[in-house]
């Protein structure tokens, strides 16, 4: 159906955790295609493996079997250090608790991922300025995280996630720790990143309001991915 090749293609992904000599399956034969510029929301009960799936897509974890292709890269075969380099260039992270570095200013937090690129100091500065103006926090660039509200911190984190112009943005419950107003702002911003800048976003959420902002909704339950909670899992083609 799609004219273009999907930007992310997951095939037969299996992941289990080992606990006390016992293997606990978390993801069973997951298949998923994500188009470029798509805003996908992943819902499901707690402990169903949403974060595990997101971490695998983001190259933070190693799968047991199956493949994950992002862009034209098969990331399941990459080594630890190759993955680190790949993440630096291709993935932007948005966390539930913002995860800003407390001893660095907003500006420096956003600059951090650029330290892993070859950009000059001047180029870095202009990238950071652009990213901060995108989240409307240019006037707060010298503030430390503790001087910012939760919503502002999350917007700085979004600026940090987009500053390297990554292929993919991953967000694990980005509104989970925010009040309704801040959550709306953050969701508005993510929607804008997708529609105006064409970013591909994968978001794990519990929040139905967040889910409503997305283009595609997937449910994960007992390690199986479905389009809707009542529909059984379709076979991979």
């Amino acid at each position: 159906m799609p004219s273009k090749r999907p930007v992310i293609e997951i095939t037969d992904l299996v992941k289990s955790y080992r606990r006390g000599g016992q293997s606990i399956p978390v993801l069973e034969n997951i298949c998923l295609k994500i188009e470029e510029g798509e805003f996908l929301a992943l819902m499901g009960p707690s402990g169903s493996g949403k974060s595990t799936l997101l971490n695998l897509i983001a190259g933070l974890d190693q799968a047991d079997s199956g493949s994950i292709r992002v862009g034209d890269r098969e990331i399941t075969v990459l080594s630890e250090s190759e993955l680190a380099r790949w993440r630096a260039g291709h993935v932007g992270f948005i966390f539930q608790f913002y995860n800003l570095i407390p001893v660095l200013t907003a500006f420096e937090n956003v600059e951090l991922p650029l330290m892993l690129t070859r950009l000059s100091k001047k180029a870095r500065k202009s990238h950071v300025a652009t990213a901060l103006s995108l989240v409307s926090l240019s006037d707060r660039m010298d503030h430390y995280p503790r001087q910012l509200s939760g919503g502002q911190q999350q917007r700085v984190a979004i600026a940090r996630a987009v500053v390297t112009d990554p292929t993919l943005l991953v967000a694990d419950e980005p509104t989970g720790d925010l009040d309704r107003h801040s959550a709306d702002e953050v969701l508005q911003l993510m929607d804008q990143l997708c529609t105006e800048l064409g970013k591909t976003i994968v978001m794990v959420t519990h929040d139905p309001r967040a889910a409503r902002k997305s283009h595609t909704l997937k449910y994960l339950e007992k390690g199986v991915l479905t389009d809707a909670p009542q529909i059984a899992a379709p076979e991979c083609l």
Partner: protein, 388 residues
């Protein structure tokens, strides 16, 4: 990676109290370390400055120092005939046959007595030691019961002031002069005519012979000739070497003491740094996970934490050296181990000591930080991120 540098530094500055306390522990160790080698350095410098390179000291073979040495008049006159001996401005050879004895004198602060070197000198003795200046009075006249005293003696002992009298060797000696010999050992000596002092102490032999070389290189010819002469049982050394050897035992003792003390203390400081750094890793686990997620490598995390610990060491090292530098204003007076006489010297801070102390503090920082830094770098990213 300058942002990483700031990251490490600011983390230290953020937890000010912990940093200050940990650094203080290291500072104390560096202080002790620096103080003791400064002491050894000061002692050695004082003793080495006492000698000059172109002077040759002759003492009895394997006697170790002037005090234990004895050279009879026959041997002394053989040494006197060596052609390498320089001529003084007065046309006489620059050679001094001297006698050294130790006596105890009552100190100015009453109760205690201390050993003092009495040196019987020849007319050339003063010219052989250019660092000596007469501060007050005059030289003792030859043939008279007169003495001159070093600056430290004049102020430190009873009856040693100008125009006063000291009683020793069963005679009374009038102090006619006070001399200054800088920071050398002579400042703690009493000088009189050797021909008066030898009979007074009933000593038939000289203690040592000191002469000046015509040419510096002549030492290479005169030393073997003196030492191989079958009529002589003496050894000849450059004066600087003689005094360096004199200070070696004490300086080595101090250095070993300093090193053993600081190694023991440093274990405590290193453990302190290690606890601090492990705590830092524990409280910043989520932060480490975040940095790793952003693409920072294990090596970068290792570097950041190691850098933090090295900074900690550097802060401690600088603080320790800062406090130790004030010791330079203190003059200590101690017993010279070779002669058991009083010797005044100062703590001496040299660039070498600064480098040694700072390296030592960095080593402590490294030792304390290496295990925590490894732990930080090997954290599992996902487990670390869950700590948020």
């Amino acid at each position: 990676m300058n942002l990483l540098f700031f990251y490490s530094l600011r983390n230290l500055l953020t937890r000010r109290l912990t940093t200050a306390l940990t650094a203080l522990g290291m500072a104390l160790v560096v202080f002790v370390f620096a103080a003791i080698i400064m002491l050894a350095e000061g002692l050695q410098k004082t003793l080495i400055d006492t000698g000059s390179y172109d002077n040759v000291v002759v003492i009895r073979k394997s006697s170790g120092s002037e005090v234990q040495s004895g050279i009879d008049r026959v041997q002394a006159s053989i040494v006197e005939t060596q052609p390498e001996i320089a001529m003084g401005q007065d046309g006489r050879p620059m050679i001094a046959k001297e006698m050294v004895v130790l006596i105890t004198l009552e100190k100015q602060d009453a109760a205690t007595r201390s050993n003092v070197v009495i040196r019987g000198v020849s007319p050339a003795s003063l010219a052989l030691r250019p660092q000596i200046r007469i501060l007050a009075g005059r030289l003792p006249a030859s043939g008279a019961s007169e003495i001159m005293v070093g600056k430290s003696i004049a102020t430190g002992f009873k009856g040693a002031g100008l125009e006063e009298s000291l009683v020793f060797g069963m005679r009374s000696w009038r102090v006619v002069g006070i001399f200054d010999a800088g920071s050398t050992g002579y400042s703690s000596e009493i000088w009189g005519d050797v021909d008066q002092l030898m009979p007074a102490f009933r000593r038939p032999v000289y203690s040592s012979i000191l002469f000046n070389l015509r040419n510096t290189d002549d030492f290479e010819t005169v030393q073997p000739r003196i030492q191989n002469d079958p009529r002589l049982t003496v050894e000849a050394k450059r004066e600087t070497v003689y005094y360096k050897e004199q200070s070696e035992a004490m300086a080595t003792f101090l250095r070993i003491l300093g090193l053993s003390l600081t190694i023991v203390f440093s274990i405590g400081a290193v453990v302190g740094a290690m606890i601090t750094m492990y705590a830092a890793v524990a409280t910043r686990t989520a932060e480490i996970g975040t940095l790793r997620a952003l693409g920072f490598t294990q090596a970068a995390i290792l570097t950041a934490f190691l850098l933090e610990s090295l900074f900690l060491g550097a802060i401690g090292g600088c603080a320790g050296l800062f406090f130790a530098s004030f010791l330079q204003f203190i003059t200590v007076s101690t017993t010279n181990f070779q002669t058991f006489s009083e010797l005044a010297f100062s703590f001496r801070l040299t660039p070498g000591i600064v480098i040694k102390s700072l390296s030592f503090s960095l080593i402590m920082g490294f030792a304390g930080g290496v295990l925590p830094a490894f732990r930080a770098s090997r954290l599992n990213i996902i487990t670390a991120l869950r700590e948020a």
